[in-house]
Assembly symmetry: D2
Homo-oligomer: 142 residues x 4
């Protein structure tokens, strides 16, 4: 896949909606808002299916969104999707996001792109912009 600058967000959305991702992951319903050279901004809709008994967006959903968003950010940075694999992902949960908050914002950023390894950071914020989850990750290009 090669990304066309004029249609980059649409191309990244097509990537997100493709069977590169598992069906269960596509059900996150992530939407690409914008792409920069080394970062992408997405919306994560807060559906009732992702809300646990405590009434907040569950952490499992935030980790899945973080990992998925980083694939999109790396694809944006390298101009298209190439086979890659997550080496590790560390997530800290700073604040809960209420289950009726509408949508969370996910920003994934490539911090360092080496030949084999890519380092990144993901921030998930609530609708008011408060940081809810913060992840760092390493990917290996295959």
């Amino acid at each position: 896949m090669t990304l066309h600058p004029m249609t980059e967000a649409a191309s990244l959305q097509a990537l997100l909606d493709s069977d590169l991702f598992a069906p269960w992951v596509r059900e996150l319903g992530l939407k690409v808002d914008a792409a920069e050279r080394d970062a992408v901004h997405l919306q994560l809709p807060i559906a009732p299916r992702h809300v646990h008994g405590g009434g907040v967006l569950c952490g499992q959903t935030m980790m899945a969104a973080a990992d998925t968003a980083m694939v999109v950010a790396i694809s944006a940075a390298i101009g298209g999707f190439k086979p890659m694999t997550t080496v590790q992902l560390q997530t800290s949960f700073l604040r809960p996001i209420a289950g009726d908050a509408g949508a969370a914002r996910v920003t994934a950023r490539v911090l360092r792109r080496g030949k084999n390894l890519v380092f990144g950071e993901i921030q998930i914020s609530d609708a008011r912009g408060q940081l809810a989850a913060h992840a760092t990750t390493t990917y290996a290009m295959l």
Copy 2:
């Protein structure tokens, strides 16, 4: 909830199947195999919905299983569910698990139970027992 020793695995399974967990997480279909004092052993069925385009179990599913399994392990250790929240979870992905491998094994273990914080470790292995993902985590009891 208080756990009855004679029916502990069944009680933990009921916990897993309850609305304490988000519906999207319950779809993991985790099954409690056995419980020890500080650890639980679960099966994670590898359904096609959790397999990505590369033909392997997706990492998002493994992270979700790890986090979920730790809630079960902590509940087993303290004799029932109490409100808690994940502070952080770090997962390393050591080996892929083939999408047709049947089921993965998840072992979650409490390493240290403090008054406010609980530390744990989760191992996800393939059917042959090879370690595929290794996670460490901190929980806060609320």
Copy 3:
């Protein structure tokens, strides 16, 4: 200890040089450059004692600087030192820093200050401003 705004950097330097830190850690020679409300900026001199056989600043030194800088950042944020302990610290090493590069820059930032837990992030950059190490951490206030 209470910090006086007019002399905040000096107060934080005094904290760094006090026996709150182990002698081996004080030998890092960290210098406080500036403090903001939720962040501190320090210099880490690259002494030959911290350079390994490969000719670069060793990772052990960067982790020690990251942990130490966060204590300073939290002290700045709360207006003085209070007993605290590191719960976890995750460091990614993005680029080596040459052993003759003079000094590295360390920025530690408080991302979220809760009642019991504080979340932070530390960036270590080389003299040209390139990110060399990136850490995230959780502290517990005692």
Copy 4:
């Protein structure tokens, strides 16, 4: 360097004492107790220089010991030292170790050795065998 099985612990000790490690790191005084195929056991003496104002072994020392021990474990696993670099290291601090506790035990274990990446785990325990720090790490072979 090639390790000779009959003298493996001595060879690994020589590695530890060589200028592959920065002088500041060698001051940890780590001693190799024993080596297995994929793991090494070391002693970390608790010197006053590594004790902070709270009277316990400082976390910076434990992280430095963890990283250093993993280099030794990987060298043991591959039969000698080869150039490598730490990609990331995550440490959780479970319990303090008293500053007068004599020596801590450090076990570093290779969990997975791939062509380019090596995954490992490090446990630091007090003299009574209680787990004080638990680290996971990824190394890249250069």
